[in-house]
């Protein structure tokens, strides 16, 4: 135990002496938590609308003014020529074209009213699709309003409008736990690996290997500082989430810390295992990136696992971040408890054991 104390002291001294690491550990979580939630949004805003108004009636101008009032739509062009609107769409200035036909207003109350036609630029499928929906909802809203005015007798609405907008705030709340996990992966996943491989490259590991230090002691001394740093990072991230985005966990903070600890153990053990198999920084970085890509894209951090193909859904079962993101989101948004999430905690605990055992076993003092 005494030897371990000396090793730990050495690791902390090295982290402190590093010109870059202490700054990174503070600045990186702050930057990610402050900026990324603003950027990582899938809400569609600023949908540019061109209106081809051939009707030129009060109804059509009312529709256009409703577009202007919408938080999500920006009417950028009103014309009577479809070709002009199409050219703007092709240039990329316009996302959706709304064409209001001749005599639209007059025939509105007839049994076969003229139809409004819509065209959207679907190169960005999300923007095209959602933009179109916003437009349809806005028009429907206007028409319902009109009917309500012209017919004093309340009739059932032609179109029922259900507000399915995903309020922007909710989307951020969904992304913040994912950002926390990305932080862990980068801080607790990369740094221990780089620290070990750095010792290989400078040759100091050979000096260590020729001493009677046990493999477990050396491995633990590499890990413990990053566990502490990881817990610091999660605290910092939670504080920023609370102060800047007003997001506080509905459930208990203790549950989050327990999950974070298990996840940090897992990812740092994983990183050391990779380092034990690598000879150079380059090799370590490349292999880590390979796995981190899979972790980020397949663990349900950014896209829901339920929408993945079945084979991919099965594959996610062996990805540790999958279990932790569920813990974070459920505790943050639904207030889940350890009991509700016991299987996730069991999985994370299992991964932590496996990877740290692997890390200690694959570290060879004698080859």
């Amino acid at each position: 135990m005494r030897t371990f104390r000396f090793l730990l002291q050495k690791e902390f001294l090295q982290i402190r002496r590093n010109s870059f690491l202490p700054k990174l550990i503070i600045a990186f979580p702050l930057m990610v938590m402050l900026l990324m939630p603003l950027i990582m949004t899938m809400d569609v805003r600023n949908v540019n609308v061109a209106v081809v108004d051939r009707d030129r009636s009060t109804t059509s101008s009312r529709i256009i003014s409703h577009f202007g009032a919408s938080e999500y739509l920006t009417p950028v062009l009103t014309t009577s020529l479809y070709e002009e609107a199409l050219a703007a769409l092709e240039r990329g200035d316009v996302d959706v074209i709304v064409q209001i036909p001749d005599n639209f207003e007059r025939e509105l109350s007839s049994t076969t009213p003229e139809r409004i036609s819509l065209a959207a630029n679907a190169v960005n499928a999300t923007k095209g699709g959602l933009g179109m929906q916003y437009v349809v909802q806005t028009i429907a809203h206007t028409l319902t309003e009109l009917r309500g005015e012209s017919l004093p007798v309340v009739r059932s609405e032609l179109v029922t409008v259900e507000n399915r907008y995903n309020p922007t705030l909710n989307y951020r709340h969904y992304m913040i736990p994912a950002l926390m996990i990305i932080l862990f992966i980068l801080v607790c996943g990369f740094l221990p690996a780089l620290s070990i491989v750095g010792e290989k490259e400078s040759g100091t590991i050979e000096q260590i290997n020729v001493t009677p230090i046990s493999r477990l002691q050396f491995t633990l001394a590499k890990l413990v500082p990053y566990w502490i740093i990881g817990l610091f990072v999660v605290s910092l991230a939670m504080v920023v989430a609370r102060l800047v985005y007003g997001l506080a966990p509905v459930g208990s903070v203790g549950t989050i810390y327990l999950g974070a600890l298990l996840f940090i153990l897992t990812i740092s053990g994983f990183s050391l295992t990779i380092a034990n198999f690598s000879e150079t920084m380059q090799q370590t970085m490349f292999v880590m990136f390979f796995f981190i890509m899979i972790f980020m894209l397949m663990s349900g951090l950014l896209t829901p696992i339920d929408s993945m193909p079945v084979w991919a859904q099965r594959f996610t079962l062996i990805l540790p971040p999958r279990y932790f993101i569920e813990v974070l989101r459920s505790v943050y948004l639904k207030g889940a408890t350890i009991v509700d999430l016991w299987s996730n905690f069991a999985a994370l605990g299992g991964f932590a054991m496996v990877f740290n055992t692997l890390a200690a076993l694959t570290y060879k003092k004698q080859a």
Binding site: Q9, Q14, Q207, V210, I213, K365, Q366
Partner: protein, 249 residues
């Protein structure tokens, strides 16, 4: 070497193969306590590989050996408690100070806090390093680093110190000082196992072995080797033997 002397390193037919390549080919020798054993050979002759087996860094493919009474194959970790090692590459922590390196390795070898303190003081004053105690090791000139590395390799008073080309790239004055440290340690009873490419250093050794192509081709005191090969200097002895090497670098 008389039989009454205590054998510290004993090696029989020690062999290391990497696939088809035999890096070390059935070498055998004994080293007695307090000897300065020069382990010579051209680049690629297998010196470092042999030394790594003796230090418990590498498993022998064949043959046997003991260091400080422990088996090189099965008791590598026990050997490590009784040896010091200084590798070809400087391998102290450049981002720690002189004193922090001493404290770290003292702690690793399970010295008590007061032992670490007293031995560091002793080493620092012997090296004339008292003013450099809080200097980062990375900021020291190479010759100083090597002296420091030697001092730290002996901080736990090991039975054997393995030195792999300790004076490579070091200036003649510092080299001289370095060998004075080696002599002091040997007189205190530490066995020195040293590889070198400097033949003047070979002359300082109690006995010298010369490896060619993974085998030991000659082993004796420098005086007797010169006699055996009718040579004026160790340099001539070495060149006579190394000229026959088949292995390219």
């Amino acid at each position: 070497m008389s039989d009454t002397q205590q054998i510290v390193i004993s090696v029989r037919d020690l062999t290391k193969r990497f696939g088809e390549f035999t890096a070390v080919d059935r070498i055998s020798f004994d080293v007695a306590r307090g000897e300065i054993f020069g382990f010579l050979g051209a680049n690629g002759a297998g010196k470092t590989t042999a030394m790594r087996m003796l230090c418990g860094l590498s498993y022998p493919t064949d043959g046997s050996g003991t260091v400080a009474g422990f088996d090189v194959r099965r008791e590598g970790e026990k050997i490590k408690r009784h040896i010091g090692y200084m590798s070809q590459r400087f391998s102290l922590y450049n981002d720690l100070t002189v004193w922090e390196n001493m404290r770290l390795f003292g702690g690793i070898y399970r010295l008590t806090d007061s032992q670490i303190k007293s031995r560091s003081e002793e080493l620092l004053s012997r090296l004339n390093f008292l003013d450099e105690r809080n200097t980062l090791v990375g900021a020291l000139p190479l010759g100083w680093k090597q002296k420091l590395a030697f001092a730290i390799a002996t901080i736990h008073r090991p039975e054997v110190v393995f030195l792999d080309e300790p004076t490579g790239g070091v200036d003649p004055v510092t080299r001289r000082q370095f060998w004075e440290l080696i002599y002091e340690a040997a007189e205190a009873g530490t066995t020195i196992f040293v590889t070198t490419h400097y033949m003047d250093e070979a002359e300082y050794c109690s006995r010298v072995s010369i490896m060619v192509d993974g085998e030991i081709r000659a082993l004796d005191t420098p005086a007797r080797l010169k006699e055996q090969f009718h040579a004026e200097s160790m340099d001539e002895v070495f060149r006579t033997l190394a000229r026959g090497a088949q292995r390219a670098e």
